[in-house]
Amino acid sequence: MAKTALQFRHNGRDVAVFVDGGANLLAVLRGVVGDMTPKFGCGQGGCGACTVLIDGEAHLSCLTLAEAVEGHSVETLAGIKDGPNLHPLQRAFMEHFAAQCGYCTPGMLMAAKALLDHNPAPTREDVVNAISGNICRCTGYEPIINAVLAAASGGRARA
């Protein structure tokens, strides 16, 4: 079956790829673009491990038809650090032990980034809601919430 040409912004760079009919964005990011940061968890929209930002809003890349991002901007965990400097959320996750096995972490970070981009001073409840679509099976929710709150207050607060 013929492939379809697709162009979109990936972490600030234009990419042009060919994709299979019906391919999801996660498969294209990992298998074609070579960005392994979004993870495949459930393929059903239940776990959030594949969360990326499309035009600044959190989306599940495994449930996004790749062709639907034609001309749009896709941001993944691979693009959030600034050169050699980690993003404040990444630093806060390290300082607050917010990762154990690490599989949910890329999705958690992108869900948290979507929150902080819209709301730089979230409440604890805002954080809980923001990551409610992301499952952590090491049961690390408390340190993750604390890390997001710490990143929001510039790393000063110790929630």
Binding site: G21, Q44, H59, C62, T64, N129, I131, S132
Partner: protein, 272 residues
């Protein structure tokens, strides 16, 4: 297995494509159709999309509201005029699902999903459908009853009257995990009162049958009566009449029947 993706500029062309191909499904936000593809659903060979701006139109100027089928739950939450639907939209998924899932797609979500449809059913919404030969409007109840054997058509929008008053519309989703979890059941009620008596009560249940259903026996128990302990107890006792819940990972059918009356009572007395 690769599928064919056909993207159209107008909803009319998309509807025509849907009615001409039996294995075609319309892709809205992706939370149902992409999920089916990821699960290897081979009944699906063609995906139909439409970029028609009319599908994301929201008309809130009059007393009758029209919500385009492509409106996402995030968009509903951003609209102050739709504040009566905010608890409903907020009860669906996490933020990413709300950025993707649409009002039109929710009409097709199988139990235990489809919470928004439960609210729409209580609010007596109608569905605008585009078939191969033209557009028509059907009541949501009729739409849901025939959903499984629906001749191919494309949902354009849903329309509904605003609730008679803010307190006339009640909504409650019972989930084991908060803030995000599938429904043990979902209950929506529109109980407008006139002179202290309930008139035209509508009670809708989700996850109590394959589609959202009305609890008509409970509605009759309230009709023309004051919303008090006696009428509420009668409604609670009758709420499962006509329901057919299933056992799933969230609850057993027995449990769902057992607690439905408890939750309806709490909803009607306004207990948090």
């Amino acid at each position: 297995m690769p599928v064919t993706v056909r993207t159209f500029a107008t909803s009319g062309e998309a509807a025509a494509a849907l009615s001409s191909e039996r294995d075609a499904r319309y892709l809205g936000g992706g939370t149902l159709v992409m999920r089916a593809l990821n699960e290897g659903d081979v009944s699906l060979s063609t995906i139909v999309r439409a970029t028609d701006g009319a599908l994301t139109r929201l008309d809130i100027s009059g007393s009758r509201i029209t919500i385009g089928a492509g409106i996402t739950f995030a968009r509903v939450l951003a609209e102050r005029e739709l504040s009566f639907l905010h608890p409903v939209a907020a009860s669906i998924g996490g933020p990413a699902v709300r950025n993707m899932g649409t009002v039109g797609g929710n009409l097709f979500a199988p139990a235990p999903f489809g919470d928004f449809t439960v609210a729409l059913l209580a609010l007596d919404a109608t569905v605008a459908l585009q078939g191969g030969y033209g557009a028509r409007e059907v009541g949501l109840e009729e739409f849901l009853a025939t959903r499984a054997r629906q001749a191919a058509g494309l949902v354009l929008s849903v329309s509904l009257q605003r609730p008679a008053s803010p307190e006339a519309f009640r909504y409650r989703k019972i989930a084991r995990i908060k803030p995000k979890g599938g429904a043990v059941m979902t209950i929506a009620a529109h109980v407008p009162a006139s002179g202290g008596r309930v008139l035209s009560a509508r009670i809708a249940l989700g996850a109590m049958a394959p589609t959202a259903i009305r609890a008509k026996a409970a509605e009759r128990a309230l009709e023309g009566r004051a919303l008090d302990a006696t009428s509420i107890a009668a409604a609670a006792a009758a709420v499962t009449e006509g329901s057919s819940p299933v056992d799933d990972s969230l609850a057993s059918a027995w449990y769902r029947r057992e607690v439905a009356g408890v939750h309806l009572r709490r909803l009607l007395i306004g207990e948090p």
